[in-house]
Amino acid sequence: MTTSQTRKQFSMKLLAVALAGAFGSAHAQEADITDLTKPSSTVAVGGGFVSGDEKDRSLFSQYNGLREHDAFFLLDFDFLRRNDATGTWMSFYGRNLGLDSRELRAQWDRQGAWKIFGEYWELTRHYPRTINSSLQGSTSTSQIVTLLPAVGTGQDLNLQLDRKRSTVGGEWWFGKNWMFEASFINEDKDGSRIFGRGFTCPSGAAPSPICTPMASGVNQWAILMLPEAVDSRTQQWEAKVNYLGEKLTVQAGYWGSFYDNHNGAMTATINGNLNNPLGHPMGQDGSIPLTAGLRNILQLPTALPPDNEANQFYVSGTYGFSPTTRATFKYAYTRAEQHDDFVSNGLTNAPAGVSNYGGRVDTNLFQAGIVSRPWSKLTLNANYRYEDREDKSPLALYNIEGTNRFVNGTYSLKKNAGKLEGSYLFPGAVRGTLGVDYEQLNRGQFESPECLQLENADCIGDSIAGITALRSETRELTYRGELRRSLSEDITGWIVLSHSDRQGDSWLKPAALPATGSIPVSDQEIFNRTGIFPMIFMDRKRDKVKAQAEWSPSEKLSLQFTLENGRDDYSAPTTKGLSTTEVKTAGIDATYAINDAWKASAYYTFNEQGVNVAHSTGYIIKYRDRNETMGVNVRGRVSPKFQMGADLLWINDRNIYDQTLDGSASTTNVQFFAQSGGLPDVVWRDTRLNVYGLYALQKNADIRVDVIYDKQKLDEWTWNTFVYSDNTTVTLKPDQNVTFVGVRYVYRFK
């Protein structure tokens, strides 16, 4: 707390008192005090200009509404009124009203009695890349693909998604301890997003004669960029009753969420031929013209997300046994359902007698926790959480490949998680904490997978085929230790160390097709160099250390240091797949009060995240996302009328794809790798400078000028040489420079 006695600073109240004394007016004093204590309102109106064209600012303006035009109307306001006699507030708030990221909110409430509010919110996300294509109907569900005569000769498509959200809600207190809350959110989403379609013939998933038989070694494939047309609505209803007593608080409520997609499926019509892998029309270079088989597959409907809903009922709360012991609890039952009709969405060939999926997932969640301070220096904390996600969707034979038959992919999961920890306050204001966490995930369905029982026949078709290995249960135990010193005069800090060990039951091997079920096997039996061992089932050892310290060598300067190092080691009966992940962070933050008028802060953070993956081909990638971030912020008062500030942000991010080959790599791959040098790094750099100045025209009005300069570089190989089978390309200007200038008149009033 700052006081006028201990800190010799300019006191506005003292001045008010002095002036009041000078002019002998108690009213003047009260007016000034009122000025300092009454909610204030502002309105800011002006214009903004942004440099370059849409491609120069596609990264900068993904979300901020500054993409499509060069000049903008800027309007923000924050109107706040309080009736001091009744405690009734009225507020209107508007931000970015001249941009397509506008939002408005109105609220009327009496504290502790009632509240009603309404919000309107818009957001447009512009896809930063430009698509050059001959595609017709790019924002519809029926698209027509025609091979462009040459790359870059099509029309430019800029994909965008518009979200418009409206919210209304309120709360009412009734009685001393009861409150009712309700809200409704409606969000409409329109536009399109990047999507696609691809297939290769021949394919095991499309046995002969579906993919036209070809001579040995002759393949045919196509990859198409087809934007997904989006036209959907989400709605959320929530109503809850709260009992807020001294010892007991309980919240009982309902939350319903509903998704309504106006687009059920999308199809593409392919006019004429497409290109072969060399970028020449199919039929050249030993290939054959686009076959009817592949064309038909590419023209099959693609299902878009189905309408669905979830309804949840819950009870949650807390109970204080004593001032030092408190319990928390929650129970929630959720039913998620999906009954979208197949045929009316343009999706045919469903299993006989099945008109919609009839999907249903019931989830029961229970949580209980207790925190106690049996004596002032010791704190105990225990928590238990149980979640049972049961997929009750009916089974049907949705996939028939010759004699192999599969049902739909239901997925049930049970989670048990517990935590126990104790902390003790040692002399020297050092608090030590020891904790144990336990998590058990049970996917029992893998042990005895559901299959379809037909009358007078064996149980047929389950959904687990196609995966090398499964596990019905994994268990993870974590030990944590923490030391925290938070009350020192000039140095505070903490360090946390943790070690986790995840293990599981025996691996399960799916029975050989067409049989159903799974068989427990030893690691030696299931060892498979190239198999699928999902990382969520693998054994894992996790070690982590994290520390932070704050040091204030003087009243003006404070420093903060951050360090983190973590590593996960995965293991399964394979030499491929995920082996390790790593994270390293180091950073320093500094704040400095230059004088009473100027303050500065700066920071530097280094972060690296790594993933080591091995593939059956024989390559190993040590992927690293390495970045450095630096920021400098300055705020100050140049003169009594002029304030200014500047924020500099610099980020240098490099994705490193460090490839090596192991002994299983083919001679072709070894030779090509030696010649190509592997995959280059992907580099992203951002340098951004925000400068603002605020000049006081009068006591309650300012002119504010904002200048933003942003320079970004994104050099990535993902798209820049890739050409789709119809000569469609997706490009991004790799070096982008943009300057924004905004000038606003800011008026404050009460």
Binding site: Q338, N349, G409
Partner: protein
């Protein structure tokens, strides 16, 4: 005219004297003993006789806030939060330095977080949004309410989506960089705040998720990913965080790692070739008019594995016609 000038001179002199007198008086060693009128809150006179609108910490601005709404009988006085602080108000004789108030919120003499939070929870415990504060990660990390919230200001930065992330980044450094990356949520633009996904006051979900699980939280905006689908992708149904980093990445769609490396963490069957980029001078054995679609180029470039496996979140296509959508082709 002369008499008017004399009157003005007289008034000016009186004003100057009054200013000097008042300022001098106010800066004198001890505050005046006479009873003062409350400036903002009920019973605040004992504090506001000394503490006022200093430039770097304007205490009177609490009057602009919800706490300063005196008509609401539940709102506090200074001492409800800062303690009665008798020795601070009446400096003991012989003491060289004025003792601190009972609760000190900032600076070297800051009180323990539990003691500070006790003051807030006296009223705010009875709030469903904070029902799971005790035992939560922030509670365990000794976070005080005032580490994040500013009480004596009309604009509490952490309650505004535009300024909230900066408050969170005081501790969460990794996310400070991630939210700026090319593939991200609209956090720097203030269209989303950290609290749109996290409840910093404690929740039943992991990572202080606002809803009961990571997926339930994501579904509030991305309900199209919920299904249930005819063909499910198990890691998707389990945790969106298996593949996505919601704070931001350089890879499209906030993916943690670029496909196919992301997918190869579990799946290794496809691809007989090392990773390739078009135009690297592939020999005809790797790139010809008839090479397979499962080539090094096709699963490393563009959307990677998703070039063909487009419905990676699951598909509701019921078709039993080959190729069936089981492998999320369509």
């Amino acid at each position: 005219m002369r008499s008017l000038r004399n009157v003005l001179h007289g008034l000016a002199a009186a004003a100057g004297f009054a200013i000097l007198f008042n300022v001098g008086f106010a800066l004198a060693a001890d505050p005046p003993a006479a009873p003062k009128k409350d400036a903002v809150l009920r019973g605040d006179a004992k504090c506001t006789r000394c503490h006022d609108e200093t430039e770097d910490y304007p205490v009177l601005a609490i009057g602009k806030t919800r706490h300063g709404t005196v008509a609401d009988g539940r709102t506090p006085s200074c001492t409800n939060c800062h303690g009665e602080s008798d020795t601070h108000i009446n400096k003991p004789e012989g003491a060289t330095e004025r003792p601190a108030p009972d609760r000190v919120y900032r600076g070297a003499r800051r009180s323990p977080s539990a003691k500070l939070n006790e003051a807030c929870l006296t009223c705010h415990q009875a709030d469903a949004k904070r029902s799971h504060w005790e035992g939560s990660q922030h509670w365990n990390a000794d976070v005080a309410c005032t580490n994040c919230h500013q009480i004596h200001t009309q604009h509490d930065a952490v309650r505004d989506k535009l300024t909230q992330p900066e408050v969170c980044f005081a501790c969460h450094k990794e996310q400070r960089t991630q939210i700026q990356k090319p593939s991200r949520h609209p956090i720097p633009e203030g269209k989303m705040g950290c609290s749109d996904c996290h409840n910093p006051h404690g929740s039943v979900g992991p990572k202080l998720m606002k809803r009961d699980s990571v997926n339930d939280t994501c579904y509030t905006c991305h309900m199209e990913k919920r299904g249930p689908f005819v063909h499910t992708h198990e890691p998707v149904a389990e945790d969106c965080g298996n593949c996505h980093n919601p704070h931001g990445t350089v890879v499209e769609n906030l993916l943690k790692v670029r496909p196919p490396m992301l997918c190869h963490q579990c799946h290794t069957p496809h691809g007989a070739q090392v990773g390739q980029i078009a135009g690297q001078g592939q020999p005809s054995s790797l790139l010809s008019g008839t090479t397979s679609g499962k080539s090094g180029i096709n699963y490393f470039m563009a959307r990677g594995c998703l070039n063909c496996h487009t419905q990676i979140h699951g598909t509701n296509n019921p078709s039993t016609t080959n190729p069936t959508p089981q492998f999320n082709f369509r």
